[in-house]
C-alpha cells in the first residue's frame, strides 16, 4: 500500500511536466490585409504630388544619396573617416575593406574614395 502510494506520487510528479500547461489558442487582432495603410496615412499620402518612379540615373542618384548620408553621419566634421570610425558607426563593410578603399594609404577616406571603390567592383 505504501509502495503503491510512493509509485503514485512519483508517477504524478513525473507525469506533471507531460501535462504542461497547454498553449492557448493563437490570436487574430485584425484580418489579413497587407499591403494596407491606415486611412489617415492613406489620405495624407494621396494628398501629396505624385512622384514618378525613379530609374536609371535618378535611381543611381538616390542610391548615392543614401550611401553618402550614412557615410557623412559617421565621418568626422571634415568628411574623412578612419577604419575605427567606420567600425564604431557599425559600417562593417567599410571597416573590413578599408585598405582597398583607402588607395592612397592615408588612413582616412572620403566618400568619393568609397564611391570609387564601389564602382570598381566587378559587375557580377
Amino acid at each position: 500500500m505504501r509502495i503503491d502510494r510512493l509509485i503514485l506520487a512519483a508517477a504524478i510528479l513525473l507525469a506533471l511536466p507531460l501535462q504542461a500547461r497547454q498553449t492557448p489558442a493563437p490570436t487574430f487582432e485584425t484580418e489579413m490585409k497587407d499591403p494596407w495603410v491606415p486611412p489617415a496615412t492613406r489620405a495624407k499620402a494621396a494628398s501629396q504630388p505624385l512622384v514618378a518612379p525613379t530609374r536609371g540615373a535618378a535611381l543611381d542618384a538616390q542610391v548615392e544619396a543614401k550611401l553618402r548620408k550614412r557615410f557623412s553621419e559617421a565621418a568626422a566634421a571634415d568628411g574623412t573617416m578612419t577604419r575605427e570610425q567606420a567600425r564604431a558607426a557599425g559600417l562593417g563593410a567599410i571597416a573590413e575593406r578599408f585598405d582597398a578603399i583607402d588607395r592612397t594609404g592615408r588612413g582616412a577616406i572620403r566618400f568619393d574614395d568609397y564611391l570609387a571603390y564601389l564602382r570598381s567592383q566587378p559587375a557580377r
Binding site: 509509485i7 508517477a11 497547454q22 493563437p26 487582432e29 499591403p35 492613406r42 494621396a46 543611381d60 542610391v63
Partner: protein, 516 residues
C-alpha cells in the same frame, strides 16, 4: 490492483518517454510524422504581449531543442529543430533591445562555412511568420488543398517533400509584436513599428543569430513575403552596410513600392498593372474572352501586359489627368481581358481590385490573396471577408500550437498571428509618406554586386500583382534580378504544383547565387 497497474503503466510510460527524449536524441527517434510530444515539455513561463506599450523587463533566451528526421528526394536527413527566443542587441549599446521568437531547422553534421542559412519572415506589417513557416518550405506544411479547400478544417500538417532543408538551414522569425516576439525595456513593441526601425531590429537579430551560432562564414539568404518584401529591401541595405554579405534574396509577392500599388492608393493611382492579374482570375472562372487555360497563362498574360503597356496605361494616365476616357475599343479590351462587365469599365475605367472581386460575378465573393477562391456573397456591403484568407487562418493557428508543442515548446501566452502593429506603423521612409524600397534594394546591389535577387509571384494574386512587381523591379535593370510567376495567389506555395515548381527554381537560384 487494476488501479495500481494503471498508475504503474503511467509511471513506466512517463519514465520511458523522459529517458528517450531530450536534447541528446539522435539515432533512435521515430519518424517525424508520428513524433509524440517530448517529455519534460519546455514551458516558457514568460508572458508575451503584442500590445503597443508592452515591454519585457529582461531577456530570457531559452530554447527547446529536438532532433528530427525528414526524407527528401529519397534521402533521409537528420536535423535539429530549435524553438525559442534570442535577443537582438542594440549596435550602439550592445544591450538587448528585443526578444525574437524563432524556429530554426539546422542540418546535423553540415559544415557551417558552406552550409547556407536562410531567414524567413512574413509581412503585414503585424503578421507573424506562421504562413511561411507552416505553408512553404519548412519540414512540415499545412495541406490546405488550395484553391478548393474541400477538406475538413483543421487541414492536416504533413511532411513537406519540397522542404528547402536539403539546400539550406532555415530560420523562421517573428517580427516584434507578432508571434511571441516582444520588445525589451526600455523599448516597447511600438518602438520597432516603422519601416526603418523594423528593418534595423531585424538586422540586429540576424547579426546576433549569426554570431551566437557561428554562422559568420555561412552563405546567407533572406526570404520575405508581402510587406516582408520592402522589409527585405531595407534590411539587405542595412546588412550589406554592416558588413554582413548576403548571397541571395527571395521576394515572395513583395510590395516593394507602396506608391505603385493602386490597392493601397486607388484614389490617385493607375490600377492598370492589376489587369493581367484580373485576366488570370477571369480566365480561371471562364469569364475572360478568350479565357486562358493554366498552360496558356504565360502567353495570355504577355498579351495583357502588352495591352496595358501600349494602350491602357497611357489611356488611364490621360483619364486621371484630364478625365478623358479610354476609347471604346480599349474599354472593350479591358472587359474582355478581365472578365469584368464592360459597363463597369465604362462607368469607371480605372477599376481597383476590391471592386473587381466584388463585381466580377453577381452573388459570388472572390479572394483577394487568391482570386481562385470563391464563396457565395451573403455579406453586407463593406463587410465582405477574403475567403482565401479566412478559410486557412484557423487551421494555421490550430496546427501551429500543436506543432510547437510537438517540438517541446509550450507557453501560457497566446501566439499573435496578426497583430495591430499596422494601425500604428510609421510608413515614412526616405522622406516619403509611403515606402518605395526599390532604391534600398538597388543600394544593396551597389554595395554587393554579387547579390542575386529572385521574386516569386502568383498569377492569381490581387494584392501584390505580379505585373506591378515586374515594373517595380525593372527600375533596377540588373541582370542579378529575376522575376517568376506561378499558378496561385499571394502564397503560391499553398498550390501543390506551384510549390514543386518553385522549389526547383529556388534550388537553381541558390546554385547560381552560390557559384559567384
Amino acid at each position: 490492483m487494476e488501479i495500481f497497474d494503471r498508475w504503474r503503466a503511467v509511471f513506466i510510460l512517463a519514465f520511458l518517454v523522459a529517458a528517450c527524449s531530450g536534447s541528446g536524441g539522435g539515432g533512435s527517434s521515430p519518424p517525424p510524422a508520428t513524433n509524440p510530444p517530448p517529455a519534460g515539455l519546455f514551458t516558457d513561463s514568460v508572458s508575451y504581449s503584442s500590445a503597443p506599450n508592452a515591454s519585457l523587463p529582461s531577456a530570457a533566451q531559452v530554447t527547446s531543442v529536438t532532433h528530427q528526421q525528414i526524407t527528401l528526394n529519397g534521402t533521409m536527413l537528420n536535423y535539429t529543430a530549435t524553438v525559442g527566443h534570442l535577443s537582438a542587441l542594440s549596435p550602439s549599446t550592445q544591450q538587448p533591445e528585443a526578444s525574437f521568437f524563432y524556429v530554426a531547422y539546422t542540418l546535423d553534421g553540415a559544415a557551417p562555412a558552406t552550409r547556407p542559412v536562410t531567414f524567413f519572415y512574413n509581412g503585414g506589417p503585424g503578421s507573424a511568420t506562421v504562413w511561411l513557416h507552416l505553408g512553404s518550405f519548412g519540414p512540415k506544411r499545412l495541406d490546405t488543398g488550395e484553391p478548393n479547400m474541400s477538406g475538413t478544417p483543421p487541414f492536416p500538417l504533413v511532411d513537406n517533400a519540397e522542404s528547402m532543408l536539403d539546400i539550406s538551414d532555415l530560420v523562421f522569425v517573428d517580427a516584434v509584436g507578432t508571434g511571441f516576439s516582444q520588445a525589451i525595456a526600455p523599448n516597447t513593441n511600438s518602438t520597432f513599428w516603422g519601416v526603418d526601425v523594423d528593418a534595423a531590429v531585424f538586422r540586429d537579430f540576424v547579426m546576433r543569430y549569426v554570431a551566437v551560432n557561428n554562422r559568420t562564414t555561412s552563405p546567407k539568404f533572406l526570404y520575405g513575403e508581402s510587406y516582408g518584401g520592402p522589409r527585405t529591401a531595407v534590411l539587405a541595405d542595412l546588412l550589406e552596410s554592416a558588413g554582413v554579405r548576403l548571397s541571395g534574396i527571395v521576394l515572395q509577392s513583395p510590395a516593394l513600392d507602396y506608391n505603385s500599388n493602386c490597392g493601397i492608393l486607388d484614389i490617385v493611382l493607375s490600377c492598370t498593372s492589376y489587369i493581367p492579374s484580373y485576366g488570370a482570375v477571369g480566365s480561371w472562372f471562364g469569364f475572360s474572352t478568350p479565357s486562358a487555360s493554366v498552360a496558356q497563362l504565360p502567353a495570355f498574360t504577355e498579351e495583357a501586359r502588352a495591352f496595358v503597356r501600349t494602350q491602357y496605361e497611357p489611356a488611364i494616365r490621360a483619364f486621371l489627368a484630364s478625365g478623358t476616357p479610354p476609347t471604346d475599343a480599349q474599354l472593350t479590351q479591358a472587359a474582355n481581358v478581365s472578365g469584368l462587365a464592360r459597363a463597369f469599365w465604362v462607368a469607371n475605367p480605372n477599376r481597383n481590385p476590391e471592386f473587381y472581386r466584388l463585381n466580377i460575378h453577381p452573388g459570388t465573393l472572390y479572394g483577394r490573396y487568391d482570386g481562385r477562391v470563391s464563396i457565395p456573397n451573403t455579406f453586407p456591403p463593406g463587410q465582405e471577408p477574403d475567403p482565401s484568407s479566412t478559410l486557412i487562418g484557423p487551421s494555421f493557428a490550430q496546427r501551429l500550437v500543436q506543432y510547437l508543442t510537438s517540438l517541446g515548446y509550450t507557453t501560457p501566452s497566446s501566439y499573435t498571428m496578426l497583430g495591430n502593429a499596422i494601425q500604428q506603423w510609421n510608413f515614412r521612409h526616405d522622406g516619403r509618406d509611403l515606402p518605395d524600397t526599390v532604391p534600398d534594394l538597388a543600394a544593396a546591389l551597389t554595395q554587393n554586386p554579387r547579390l542575386k535577387v529572385l521574386s516569386v509571384n502568383g498569377y492569381h494574386d490581387t494584392v501584390t500583382p505580379f505585373y506591378t512587381t515586374e515594373l517595380d523591379l525593372a527600375r533596377i535593370a540588373s541582370p542579378n534580378v529575376a522575376v517568376r510567376e506561378y499558378v496561385g495567389g499571394h502564397m503560391t506555395y499553398l498550390e501543390n504544383s506551384s510549390r514543386r515548381a518553385m522549389k526547383a527554381d529556388i534550388v537553381e537560384f541558390y546554385r547560381s547565387a552560390l557559384a559567384n
